[in-house]
Every structure is written in structure tokens, then in C-alpha cells.
């Protein structure tokens, strides 16, 4: 579990590219793609804290994303308050919701936990889409755009750096997890809960901590996404598709690694963005294209790199080292 130095170099290289790109490229399409890659990467990293490091595989993380998105949308559109207040509210609500889900993960293991998280996100979807008086129901809420940092009305270039900042913090959290006491204990819980308990690890409490942290991180991502896109639609922000996106980016990139979720996001998001641009004229016919991409990518990963792209890189590295020797 000690991190492989080449991974840190790769992360540094990616950071460099993301930092410099907005300085040379002003094309809105490229910048939009970069922002989405960073946002989905950060959100997958948030999922990774629970799913990858603690082994609590959730398929309902859209719940926390939606909580963050709705918190800011309602705070700004309905109450004319700062989106930062919405961000804070989303984090608080997600911590509460994460505590509930984390508690469930103590009762239910494996697929039953994943199913209960789906149910949880669906309950929130129904709530948001039916409570018309408060949430505007299925019509969704436009998030007002007010220029300035404190109102999160930013240019594309500024959004790149906001998303990059969040991505960097999330990467840092996971790099810390990999070498900290908490991270090792979580790894023990993930690998074998009974054994972890026998060794004095309070596995239940630790799982709740991990899921709660992951929920809060996801909520922040949801808030920023809503501010960036400018519209919150219940059927999107609480969708299972979104939950699957967080999970698959991480699985494809490498679960339980700091870099994995970002690699997965680079691969999947750029493919998706490319295909969407290419087939935009045939939108109706290709509405489900991204599912085909997910499916194909997942099959390829499971077949050729079951430990994700980072695992594949490690194996290639070991193979080259052997070839050199």
C-alpha cells in the first residue's frame, strides 16, 4: 500500500498540464472538457474514500451530489444567499445522511449495502421531484449567475482553477490516507472486517467515518457542479447513472489509489465528451452512447487490468524492470 513513486510523478505531470492548459488554450470546448474531467475526477476521488479505501461500495453517491447541488440552488435561487452558504449546508446535510448510510453499512455488507444506497438516492430523487412547492419539482432549478468569486459566477479559466484546487485537495486527502494510521486501519477493515476487529480496530465506527467523509466531499463537488452548470435537475443529480459514473471512474482507474479516480475520469470523460461532440447532430440516436463506453471500458478493465489502470501501470513497470535486469 506504500505508494509507488512513479504514480506521484504522473500526478505531478497531470497537475502541470491542467495548470498550464488554460494559459495557452482559450477554446471554451477544451476548457469545459478540462473542468468536467477535474470535477468528475474529484467526485470519483470522493467516492473512492468510501468505496476504494474502506471497501464500502456505494451505488447511491448521487444522493450526496444531489444534496450539495440542491443546497446551493435553493440557497441562491430561493433565499438569495451566498452559494458558499449552500456549500456549507450541503456538507452538513451530507454528513448527517452519510452517518445514516454509514450506519446501514454496519448492518448490511457487500451487495446489500450497495442496494440500500441506491434506494437512499432514489428516495431523495422522489422527494426532490415531488416536493414542488419547495424544490420546483421535476422542472428543476436554474442557479442564478452573479459574476464574482463570492457568488461563484466565474469564467471558464477561473473554473478550471477552482476545480483543480478541489481535485488537488482530494488527491491530497487520499495520498495522506495511504500513509496514515487511519488509512491502514481502513485497509484492514476493507480486507477482512473480523480480523480487523480482532486486532483492536473499531471497524464500525471507522466505516461510518469513511462514508461520512466521502459524503461530505461528494456534496462539495455537487455544489460546485451546480454553480458551474447553472441548472439543477432532480432526474440528473440524483440519478443512478451519476452514482455509477463515480464508481466506474474509480474502478477503471484503480480503487484505493489516489491517482486512479483521476485517470478513470480522464479516460471516460474525454471519450464521452468527444463522442458527444462528434455525434451531437444525431443526439436522439446516440443518447445512450456513454453507457456503451462504460460497458466496453469496464469489460476491458476487468479482463486486462482487474486492479485498474494504476495496477496495470505497476505491472508494466515490474515487467520492464524484469526485462532490464
Amino acid at each position: 500500500m506504500t505508494s509507488f513513486p512513479p504514480r506521484r510523478w504522473a500526478a505531478l505531470a497531470l497537475l502541470g498540464v491542467a495548470t498550464l492548459l488554460p494559459l495557452v488554450v482559450r477554446d471554451a470546448f477544451v476548457l469545459d472538457s478540462l473542468i468536467l474531467i477535474l470535477m468528475w475526477g474529484a467526485l470519483s476521488a470522493a467516492w473512492n474514500v468510501a468505496g476504494g479505501y474502506a471497501g464500502q461500495v456505494s451505488l447511491g453517491h448521487a444522493a450526496f451530489f444531489g444534496i450539495g447541488a440542491y443546497s446551493t440552488a435553493l440557497m441562491t435561487a430561493r433565499f438569495q444567499q451566498s452559494p458558499w452558504l449552500g456549500l456549507l449546508l450541503g456538507v452538513v446535510l451530507s454528513i448527517v445522511a452519510g452517518g445514516v448510510i454509514g450506519y446501514l453499512s454496519n448492518r448490511l455488507r457487500g451487495p446489500y449495502f450497495a442496494l440500500s444506497t441506491i434506494a437512499f438516492s432514489q428516495v431523495l430523487l422522489i422527494l426532490a421531484s415531488r416536493w414542488r412547492g419547495f424544490t420546483a419539482g421535476s422542472e428543476g432549478i436554474p442557479v442564478p449567475f452573479r459574476r464574482g468569486f463570492w457568488t461563484l459566477g466565474l469564467s471558464h479559466v477561473a473554473w478550471v482553477y477552482v476545480a483543480l484546487g478541489v481535485a488537488l485537495i482530494y488527491y491530497g486527502v487520499e495520498a495522506w490516507l495511504e500513509s496514515s494510521r487511519l488509512g491502514y486501519q481502513l485497509a484492514g477493515v476493507r480486507e477482512d472486517e473480523d480480523a480487523a476487529e480482532a486486532l483492536g480496530i473499531a471497524s464500525r465506527r471507522l466505516k461510518i467515518h469513511a462514508v461520512t467523509l466521502s459524503a461530505a466531499m461528494t456534496s462539495v463537488g455537487g455544489t460546485l457542479w451546480a454553480q458551474y452548470v447553472g441548472f439543477v435537475d432532480p432526474f440528473y443529480v440524483f440519478s443512478i447513472d451519476l452514482s455509477i459514473r463515480f464508481a466506474l471512474n474509480t474502478i477503471i482507474g484503480g480503487m484505493g489509489t489516489a491517482l486512479g479516480p483521476f485517470l478513470g475520469s480522464i479516460l471516460i470523460t474525454s471519450l464521452e465528451t468527444y463522442l458527444r461532440a462528434t455525434f451531437s447532430g444525431l443526439k436522439t440516436g446516440f443518447a445512450g452512447t456513454y453507457l456503451v463506453i462504460y460497458g466496453t471500458a469496464l469489460i476491458l478493465v476487468v479482463r486486462f487490468a482487474p486492479e485498474g489502470l494504476t495496477g496495470l501501470a505497476d505491472r508494466l513497470g515490474a515487467w520492464r524492470a524484469r526485462a532490464d535486469a
Binding site: 491502514y184 473480523d194 476487529e197 486486532l199
Partner: protein
């Protein structure tokens, strides 16, 4: 140090452990033997907090530990190993042991040093970097012991750490247990291999159908009529003679 008072554990209509009482004093090396299904592992599960007893009390160093979760019992100084080994398969041997050491130590650096020492003691040093799941069963049994030791127990429960080993692996682990005992550790050892147990334990409790049918020195137990009938058989007695 550890006192069981009439501990009973039922699963539906089956009474897996029936009114077992025993007393372990500091420095003891107590053996628990019995045929398959006698309730040995169930008894460990009750002591270590995995099952809640349906009757009786488990008192460790003056505290009733009934109802406490396993991790709390480990923190009190009572650690168990698993008969069906449960290594953290994707982690290295060193990391496995270090996770045990982190229970007493706040810093990863200190825990790593402690783990190195324990790995050395248990003869796992050549395999420290190997993934736990890649180890053969003999070494995985050793890893169970090493990981438990890293939590610095005062009482260690070993659940069939000798089962399925080759004669040389067996000799190695017997030697390790002797050394730990000589260093002052109190142990309860569940074992199937009677011959090894006879040489190792100072005192043996025999479980049969969940009941403690005999207790005494290995010699006394081996001559006990009920033990011979229930478990050892005449041939064992003749072979020992």
C-alpha cells in the same frame, strides 16, 4: 486473569457450549482439545466478543467483558487468532503486522518498527514484503500469530495454528509458542494435534459436545476414562505407553 463462569452458547436448538467454567492464571499455557464440533472455536468466539454468551460470565482481569465488541476486548489485552486464517490478502506481510501494531501505537513510523521486530520474532522476515495472500498456509498461520502479537496482548488465544502444517513447520510454531510463553505471555491454545499438545500445554481442558469433560495435566487427561472414550481412543493410550 481470565475466568469463565458457566458460559453457555446456543444456536437455536443446538447448545454449542454448555456451562463451561475455567480459570486461566497469569503465565498459564492452557490447552483446549476436543473432537470436531466440540465447541472449541465457539468458546473462543464468546471469549473474544464475536458471540454473546446465552448464560454465564467471561471475566478478564476483573472486568466482565460480556457484550463488549471484539476490538474493545483486544484493547484490554486479549487477542485471538482465527482457525481459518484471515490475512489482509492484498497487503504485504509487514503491513499486516503493522496494522496490529497500530492498535497500541499512534504513529505509523513507530508501528512499522514494532512490526519489523515482531516479523523477525515470528521468523517471517524473509517474507516481509510478500503479499499475504501469496504465502503458503504454514506462513499464513505464522502471520496470524505475528499480527496478534503486534497488538501486545497479555492473553493470546491461538485457534488451531498447528493444523495442516508439515512436520518441520509444526516444530517451528511449537518452538515459537514455547518462546512466547517463556517470555511471560499467557496463552490458551486450541489444538487438534494431540501429540503436539501433550508436549506443549501445562494444563488441558477437554471439550466434548460443548461440555468440559476433563481438566488436568496432559498425563492426567490422557488417562481419563471419559476422554479416552470420547476422543482419544484406546490406540492413543497404547501408543503413549
Amino acid at each position: 486473569m481470565l475466568t469463565l463462569e458457566g458460559v453457555t452458547k446456543r444456536f437455536g436448538g443446538l447448545t454449542a457450549v454448555r456451562a463451561v467454567s475455567l480459570d486461566v492464571r497469569r503465565g498459564d499455557l492452557l490447552g483446549i482439545i476436543g473432537p470436531n464440533g466440540a465447541g472449541k472455536t465457539t468458546l473462543f468466539n464468546v471469549i473474544a466478543g464475536y458471540y454473546r454468551a446465552d448464560g454465564g460470565r467471561v471475566v478478564f482481569e476483573g472486568r466482565d467483558v460480556g457484550g463488549r465488541p471484539p476490538h474493545a476486548i483486544c484493547r484490554l489485552g486479549l487477542t485471538r487468532t482465527f482457525q481459518l486464517v484471515k490475512p489482509f490478502g492484498n497487503l504485504s506481510v509487514a503491513d499486516n503486522v503493522m496494522i496490529g501494531a497500530l492498535t497500541r501505537l499512534g504513529s505509523v513510523r513507530a508501528a512499522r518498527l514494532e512490526a519489523e521486530r515482531v516479523v523477525e520474532t515470528c521468523g517471517l522476515a524473509p517474507h516481509a514484503g510478500a503479499r499475504a495472500r501469496a504465502l503458503p498456509i504454514g506462513l499464513r498461520k505464522r502471520l496470524e500469530v505475528a499480527r496478534a502479537l503486534a497488538t501486545r496482548p497479555r492473553l493470546l488465544l491461538l485457534d488451531e495454528v498447528m493444523a495442516g502444517l508439515t512436520p518441520s513447520e509444526l516444530a517451528g510454531i511449537v518452538e515459537l509458542i514455547r518462546r512466547l510463553h517463556a517470555d511471560g505471555l499467557t496463552l490458551i491454545v486450541i489444538e487438534h494435534i494431540m501429540a503436539a499438545m501433550m508436549r506443549l500445554a501445562e494444563r488441558i481442558v477437554v471439550l466434548h459436545h460443548g461440555e468440559a469433560i476433563a481438566e488436568g495435566t496432559p498425563g492426567e487427561v490422557a488417562r481419563d476414562r471419559r476422554v479416552i472414550d470420547a476422543y482419544l481412543g484406546e490406540e492413543f493410550v497404547l501408543a503413549q505407553a
